[in-house]
Amino acid sequence: MQVGLEHYLVVSFLLFALGLLGVVMRRNLLVIYMSLELMLNAANLAPVPGRS
Protein backbone atom coordinates (compact mmCIF):
# COMPACT_ATOMS: atom_id res chain seq x y z
CA MET A 1 0.00 0.00 0.00
CA GLN A 2 1.34 3.38 -1.01
CA VAL A 3 2.23 5.64 1.90
CA GLY A 4 0.13 8.75 1.67
CA LEU A 5 -1.43 11.56 3.61
CA GLU A 6 -3.39 9.28 5.91
CA HIS A 7 -0.32 7.45 7.15
CA TYR A 8 1.35 10.65 8.23
CA LEU A 9 -1.87 11.85 9.88
CA VAL A 10 -2.12 8.60 11.83
CA VAL A 11 1.46 9.04 13.07
CA SER A 12 0.63 12.62 14.03
CA PHE A 13 -2.50 11.54 15.93
CA LEU A 14 -0.64 8.84 17.81
CA LEU A 15 2.17 11.20 18.75
CA PHE A 16 -0.33 13.80 19.93
CA ALA A 17 -2.08 11.17 22.04
CA LEU A 18 1.26 10.14 23.55
CA GLY A 19 1.97 13.72 24.53
CA LEU A 20 -1.51 14.06 26.02
CA LEU A 21 -0.99 10.85 27.96
CA GLY A 22 2.24 12.25 29.34
CA VAL A 23 0.58 15.51 30.35
CA VAL A 24 -2.18 13.61 32.16
CA MET A 25 -0.05 10.89 33.69
CA ARG A 26 3.30 12.28 34.77
CA ARG A 27 3.65 14.37 37.92
CA ASN A 28 6.96 16.07 37.20
CA LEU A 29 6.59 19.56 35.75
CA LEU A 30 9.59 19.18 33.46
CA VAL A 31 8.36 15.90 31.96
CA ILE A 32 4.93 17.47 31.50
CA TYR A 33 6.61 20.24 29.52
CA MET A 34 8.47 17.66 27.42
CA SER A 35 5.15 15.98 26.67
CA LEU A 36 3.80 19.37 25.62
CA GLU A 37 6.75 19.63 23.22
CA LEU A 38 5.76 16.21 21.87
CA MET A 39 2.23 17.48 21.25
CA LEU A 40 3.58 20.58 19.51
CA ASN A 41 5.74 18.41 17.28
CA ALA A 42 2.75 16.26 16.39
CA ALA A 43 0.81 19.37 15.43
CA ASN A 44 3.79 20.43 13.31
CA LEU A 45 3.81 17.11 11.48
CA ALA A 46 0.12 17.19 10.55
CA PRO A 47 0.00 19.95 7.86
CA VAL A 48 3.26 19.06 6.11
CA PRO A 49 2.16 16.01 4.02
CA GLY A 50 -0.73 17.95 2.52
CA ARG A 51 1.82 20.14 0.81
CA SER A 52 3.53 17.48 -1.26
Binding site: Q2, V3, G4, L5, E6, H7, Y8, L9, V10, V11, F13, L14, L15, A17, L18, G19, L20, L21, G22, V24, M25, R26, R27, N28, L30, V31, Y33, M34, S35, E37, L38, N41, N44, L45, V48, P49, G50, R51, S52
Partner: protein, 179 residues
Protein backbone atom coordinates in the same frame (compact mmCIF):
# COMPACT_ATOMS: atom_id res chain seq x y z
CA UNK B 1 20.16 17.19 -2.57
CA UNK B 2 20.33 15.33 -5.88
CA UNK B 3 21.14 12.09 -4.11
CA UNK B 4 18.20 12.54 -1.76
CA UNK B 5 15.87 13.21 -4.67
CA UNK B 6 17.13 10.10 -6.46
CA UNK B 7 16.61 8.07 -3.31
CA UNK B 8 13.11 9.43 -2.78
CA UNK B 9 12.24 8.91 -6.43
CA UNK B 10 12.13 5.13 -6.15
CA UNK B 11 8.88 3.39 -5.34
CA UNK B 12 9.82 1.02 -2.57
CA UNK B 13 12.51 2.84 -0.57
CA UNK B 14 10.47 5.83 0.73
CA UNK B 15 7.69 3.57 2.02
CA UNK B 16 10.11 1.40 3.98
CA UNK B 17 11.86 4.51 5.27
CA UNK B 18 8.51 5.96 6.32
CA UNK B 19 7.69 2.89 8.38
CA UNK B 20 11.16 2.88 9.95
CA UNK B 21 11.05 6.55 10.91
CA UNK B 22 7.43 6.41 12.09
CA UNK B 23 8.11 3.39 14.28
CA UNK B 24 11.23 5.06 15.68
CA UNK B 25 9.30 8.27 16.40
CA UNK B 26 6.47 6.50 18.19
CA UNK B 27 8.77 4.17 20.13
CA UNK B 28 10.93 7.01 21.39
CA UNK B 29 7.76 8.99 22.18
CA UNK B 30 6.56 6.13 24.37
CA UNK B 31 9.94 6.07 26.09
CA UNK B 32 9.72 9.82 26.75
CA UNK B 33 6.36 9.49 28.43
CA UNK B 34 6.51 6.12 30.19
CA UNK B 35 9.97 4.66 30.39
CA UNK B 36 9.73 1.36 32.30
CA UNK B 37 13.41 1.33 33.24
CA UNK B 38 14.12 4.86 34.36
CA UNK B 39 12.03 7.64 35.87
CA UNK B 40 14.71 10.27 35.46
CA UNK B 41 13.91 13.39 33.39
CA UNK B 42 17.35 13.16 31.77
CA UNK B 43 16.46 9.93 29.96
CA UNK B 44 13.15 11.51 28.94
CA UNK B 45 15.05 14.45 27.43
CA UNK B 46 17.43 12.12 25.59
CA UNK B 47 14.56 10.13 24.09
CA UNK B 48 12.91 13.42 23.15
CA UNK B 49 16.06 14.16 21.12
CA UNK B 50 15.68 10.80 19.34
CA UNK B 51 11.99 11.48 18.66
CA UNK B 52 12.79 14.85 17.16
CA UNK B 53 15.59 13.52 14.97
CA UNK B 54 13.46 10.70 13.57
CA UNK B 55 10.71 13.22 12.94
CA UNK B 56 13.22 15.26 10.96
CA UNK B 57 13.69 12.09 8.92
CA UNK B 58 9.95 12.09 8.22
CA UNK B 59 10.22 15.72 7.10
CA UNK B 60 13.03 14.79 4.70
CA UNK B 61 10.81 12.03 3.27
CA UNK B 62 8.17 14.71 2.66
CA UNK B 63 10.80 16.84 0.88
CA UNK B 64 10.46 19.58 3.50
CA UNK B 65 14.21 20.03 3.83
CA UNK B 66 14.13 23.43 5.50
CA UNK B 67 11.68 22.18 8.09
CA UNK B 68 13.89 19.19 8.82
CA UNK B 69 16.94 21.42 9.32
CA UNK B 70 15.00 23.81 11.55
CA UNK B 71 13.64 20.87 13.52
CA UNK B 72 17.12 19.62 14.30
CA UNK B 73 18.66 23.03 14.96
CA UNK B 74 15.88 24.49 17.09
CA UNK B 75 14.55 21.46 18.94
CA UNK B 76 17.49 19.08 19.20
CA UNK B 77 19.81 22.03 19.73
CA UNK B 78 18.20 24.83 21.67
CA UNK B 79 15.22 23.30 23.43
CA UNK B 80 17.05 20.22 24.67
CA UNK B 81 19.97 22.29 25.95
CA UNK B 82 17.42 24.41 27.81
CA UNK B 83 15.86 21.28 29.31
CA UNK B 84 19.22 19.94 30.41
CA UNK B 85 20.13 23.28 31.99
CA UNK B 86 16.90 23.27 33.98
CA UNK B 87 17.48 19.65 35.04
CA UNK B 88 20.98 20.50 36.19
CA UNK B 89 19.86 23.61 38.08
CA UNK B 90 16.95 21.95 39.86
CA UNK B 91 17.29 19.21 42.40
CA UNK B 92 15.50 16.15 41.06
CA UNK B 93 16.40 13.55 43.64
CA UNK B 94 12.86 12.96 44.84
CA UNK B 95 11.62 12.15 41.34
CA UNK B 96 13.21 8.68 41.35
CA UNK B 97 11.22 7.64 44.41
CA UNK B 98 7.92 8.88 43.09
CA UNK B 99 5.76 6.19 41.54
CA UNK B 100 3.20 6.64 38.79
CA UNK B 101 -0.25 6.38 40.35
CA UNK B 102 -2.35 3.51 39.07
CA UNK B 103 -5.51 5.61 38.89
CA UNK B 104 -3.84 8.31 36.82
CA UNK B 105 -2.30 5.70 34.52
CA UNK B 106 -5.55 3.86 33.84
CA UNK B 107 -7.67 6.99 33.58
CA UNK B 108 -5.22 8.68 31.27
CA UNK B 109 -4.91 5.57 29.11
CA UNK B 110 -8.70 5.23 28.77
CA UNK B 111 -9.33 8.88 27.94
CA UNK B 112 -6.44 9.16 25.50
CA UNK B 113 -7.46 5.87 23.89
CA UNK B 114 -10.97 7.25 23.41
CA UNK B 115 -9.51 10.37 21.75
CA UNK B 116 -7.35 8.23 19.45
CA UNK B 117 -10.32 6.06 18.45
CA UNK B 118 -12.46 9.12 17.73
CA UNK B 119 -9.81 10.82 15.61
CA UNK B 120 -8.96 7.64 13.69
CA UNK B 121 -12.66 7.08 12.98
CA UNK B 122 -12.91 10.67 11.78
CA UNK B 123 -9.91 10.08 9.53
CA UNK B 124 -11.48 6.91 8.19
CA UNK B 125 -14.87 8.43 7.37
CA UNK B 126 -13.66 11.68 5.84
CA UNK B 127 -11.28 11.77 2.93
CA UNK B 128 -8.79 14.46 3.87
CA UNK B 129 -6.68 14.39 0.71
CA UNK B 130 -9.62 14.59 -1.70
CA UNK B 131 -9.41 18.20 -2.84
CA UNK B 132 -5.71 18.81 -2.49
CA UNK B 133 -4.16 20.81 -5.27
CA UNK B 134 -0.62 20.61 -6.59
CA UNK B 135 1.99 22.00 -4.19
CA UNK B 136 2.51 25.72 -4.40
CA UNK B 137 6.02 25.83 -2.99
CA UNK B 138 8.93 23.47 -2.64
CA UNK B 139 10.64 22.72 0.64
CA UNK B 140 13.61 24.96 0.05
CA UNK B 141 14.38 28.29 1.65
CA UNK B 142 13.90 30.47 -1.43
CA UNK B 143 10.15 30.00 -1.83
CA UNK B 144 9.63 30.14 1.91
CA UNK B 145 11.48 33.45 2.20
CA UNK B 146 9.55 34.92 -0.71
CA UNK B 147 6.28 33.94 0.92
CA UNK B 148 7.30 35.08 4.39
CA UNK B 149 8.53 38.51 3.37
CA UNK B 150 5.94 39.33 0.71
CA UNK B 151 2.59 37.76 1.42
CA UNK B 152 2.81 37.15 5.16
CA UNK B 153 5.03 40.01 6.21
CA UNK B 154 2.61 41.48 8.77
CA UNK B 155 2.03 38.28 10.80
CA UNK B 156 5.78 37.61 10.66
CA UNK B 157 6.60 41.02 12.13
CA UNK B 158 3.85 40.68 14.75
CA UNK B 159 5.35 37.38 15.88
CA UNK B 160 8.82 38.90 16.08
CA UNK B 161 7.50 41.79 18.20
CA UNK B 162 5.76 39.24 20.43
CA UNK B 163 9.05 37.41 20.94
CA UNK B 164 10.79 40.67 21.79
CA UNK B 165 8.07 41.50 24.34
CA UNK B 166 8.46 38.05 25.90
CA UNK B 167 12.23 38.50 26.15
CA UNK B 168 11.98 41.93 27.78
CA UNK B 169 9.31 40.60 30.13
CA UNK B 170 11.49 37.70 31.23
CA UNK B 171 14.40 40.03 31.94
CA UNK B 172 12.15 42.36 33.92
CA UNK B 173 10.50 39.58 35.93
CA UNK B 174 13.65 37.62 36.73
CA UNK B 175 15.62 40.62 37.95
CA UNK B 176 15.54 40.67 41.72
CA UNK B 177 15.91 44.35 42.57
CA UNK B 178 15.01 46.62 39.71
CA UNK B 179 16.60 50.01 40.15
Amino acid sequence: MEAINNLLGGSMVPDVLFYVFAALTLLCGVLVVANPFSRSPVTSAMFLVLTIISMAGLFVLLRAFFLAAVQIIVYAGAVIVLFLFVIMLLDLKEEQRRKIKMFGFVGGLVSVGAIVVISLKALGTTNPGANLTAPQLEGGTNALGQLLFKQYVLPFEVVSVLLLVAMVGVILLSKKDLK
